[in-house]
């Protein structure tokens, strides 16, 4: 399959890339290309200009700054999957990376690119919602948007056509007991999620939940933070009954559509099941068995 003709631009700096975005209106940013190139081959998108940011130095990083981990625009899924600091501080991300597509796609596809693309069934959005990440956006200036305000709808975010998502800053969950999990339900190896649920839980010495984040993907027009489910557990000592109640609340917030991965009814039910399992796993990792 051959895409429509396009002009290829390879800026050497972020400033140049932003200048090109302002100058050429019908342009797309190419980072990993694992969504853009297939869409161009299918001619679902045919930008006149492709701005390849891979030659810009200093955009591929995972670094600890204070109590946050910062991930740059060109950091690949595979970089996150194998990063010792991610495994130690944000293990949910390494877990999610390992179930994205396959080795070859993970070697090229980028974390920020996937978030900016905002496929409603992508894995990363659930994790940044659960972890309360901040999205660092560069355009004419710099602005920072909470993950919970970033996603607008299918393939739609708050990013303007002249902006680039350059970094995601993730607070490291901190407390006496912490646990995280990303659970994905997929039909076959490497598939998009039927449903994916990310959970991050912090508990006090008294075993009460002091902080909780639940992100859900693939079962609504946009990924969502299951705030109704979070409320049920916040401030309480988790029990099997409370976790089940939270799972039901997360499922009640879903708005899935029927497709080849299942009927809407089935997906809503799977949202309940996988929210429960994701929460249980996060609690187990925090040393709490219910």
């Amino acid at each position: 399959m051959i895409p429509r003709r396009f002009e290829y631009l390879a800026p050497a700096t972020l400033g140049q890339a932003l200048g090109m975005l302002r100058k050429y209106r019908d342009a797309k940013i190419l980072s990993g290309g694992m969504s853009l190139i297939p869409m161009m081959k299918l001619r679902l998108v045919s930008p006149q200009y492709v701005i390849d940011i891979n030659n810009i130095k200093g955009l591929n990083y995972i670094k600890a700054v204070g109590n946050t981990i910062r991930i740059g625009a060109l950091t690949r899924h595979a970089d996150i999957e194998h990063s010792p600091i991610i495994k130690a501080k944000l293990p949910m991300l390494a877990e999610a990376a390992s179930v994205i597509a396959d080795q070859q796609v993970r070697n090229l596809g980028t974390f920020c690119g996937s978030l900016a693309h905002a496929d409603p069934a992508a894995d990363w959005p659930a994790t940044v919602l659960a972890l309360d990440a901040e999205m660092v956006i560069r355009g004419a200036g710099k602005r920072v948007v909470k993950a919970s305000k970033f996603f607008r709808g299918p393939f739609e975010t708050v990013l303007k056509p002249t902006e680039i998502l350059t970094e995601v800053s993730i607070p490291i969950p901190n407390g006496p007991k912490v646990g995280q999990a990303y659970l994905k339900f997929e039909r076959k190896a490497g598939d998009f999620a039927t449903v994916g649920v990310a959970s991050s839980i912090v508990l006090g010495k008294d075993n009460k939940v002091s902080k909780i984040g639940i992100g859900v993907t693939a079962v609504a027009p946009a990924p969502y933070k299951a705030v109704e489910a979070e409320k049920i557990l916040l401030g309480k000592e988790p029990t099997a009954e409370l976790v089940e109640e939270a799972a039901k609340a997360a499922a009640a917030m879903s708005d899935p559509s029927s497709d080849l991965r299942g009927s809407a009814e089935y997906k809503r039910e799977m949202t309940r099941v996988f929210t429960r399992r994701s929460l249980k796993k996060a609690l187990e990792r925090a040393g709490i068995s219910i």
Binding site: I2, G33, P38, N60, A78, A101, Q103, Q104, A189, G190
Partner: protein, 177 residues
């Protein structure tokens, strides 16, 4: 604003790629996929096109990304992106007439039936063994999950990769020299 005229958009430009140690330069359109550059311009037809949709892995090659060899799917990469980069295809694995341990193991363990997926399987396996030199059977299956064999000969493919991994470990040599 100096916007290019429609006729100039996407016109051919020289792209140089080092494939298996040899530099090739051809004038190509930006929309040319790497797999077509390899097969139709450089004439190396060992890299196959299977699904053309990033699913089957038949087009897998190794690319030097920041000094590390990584398996990628060449049907989902523009040749122009590879300008100045190094890649290895199936033709570049044997050295001095001696098959690579993965090639030998695929032969010995009947890891190929029709052979169509084999180049991609071998390069995906090479990429994976560089990440995990001592994998379990399940890890090998996860490592090649981006490659499809429609003869469904996975049992012997997995056996071959496990055997090659052992041979490479025992030899003390890197997966890719």
């Amino acid at each position: 604003m100096a916007v290019k005229k429609a006729a100039e958009i996407g016109s051919k430009r020289p792209v140089t790629i080092e494939i298996n140690g040899t530099k090739y330069t051809y004038d190509v359109e930006p929309r040319l996929l790497l797999v077509h550059y390899i097969r139709e311009y450089a004439g190396l037809t060992g890299t196959h096109i299977g699904c053309d949709t990033t699913n089957c892995g038949a087009c897998t090659v190794l690319m030097d990304l920041n000094g590390k060899w990584k398996a990628i799917k060449s049907c989902t990469y523009f040749a122009v992106q590879a300008n100045g980069k190094r890649i290895i295809t199936i033709e570049g694995l044997a050295k001095d007439g001696e098959l690579h341990p993965l090639q030998k193991a695929f032969w010995e363990h009947h890891g190929l039936q029709c052979g169509y997926c084999t180049p991609g399987m071998i390069l995906a396996a090479a990429g994976y063994l560089m990440i995990n030199p001592n994998p379990t059977e399940m890890e090998v299956r996860h490592g090649i999950s981006g490659n499809l064999c429609r003869c469904t000969g996975y049992q012997n493919i997995v056996k071959a990769i496990l055997a090659a991994a052992e041979e490479i470990r025992n030899s003390g040599r890197p997966v890719i020299e």
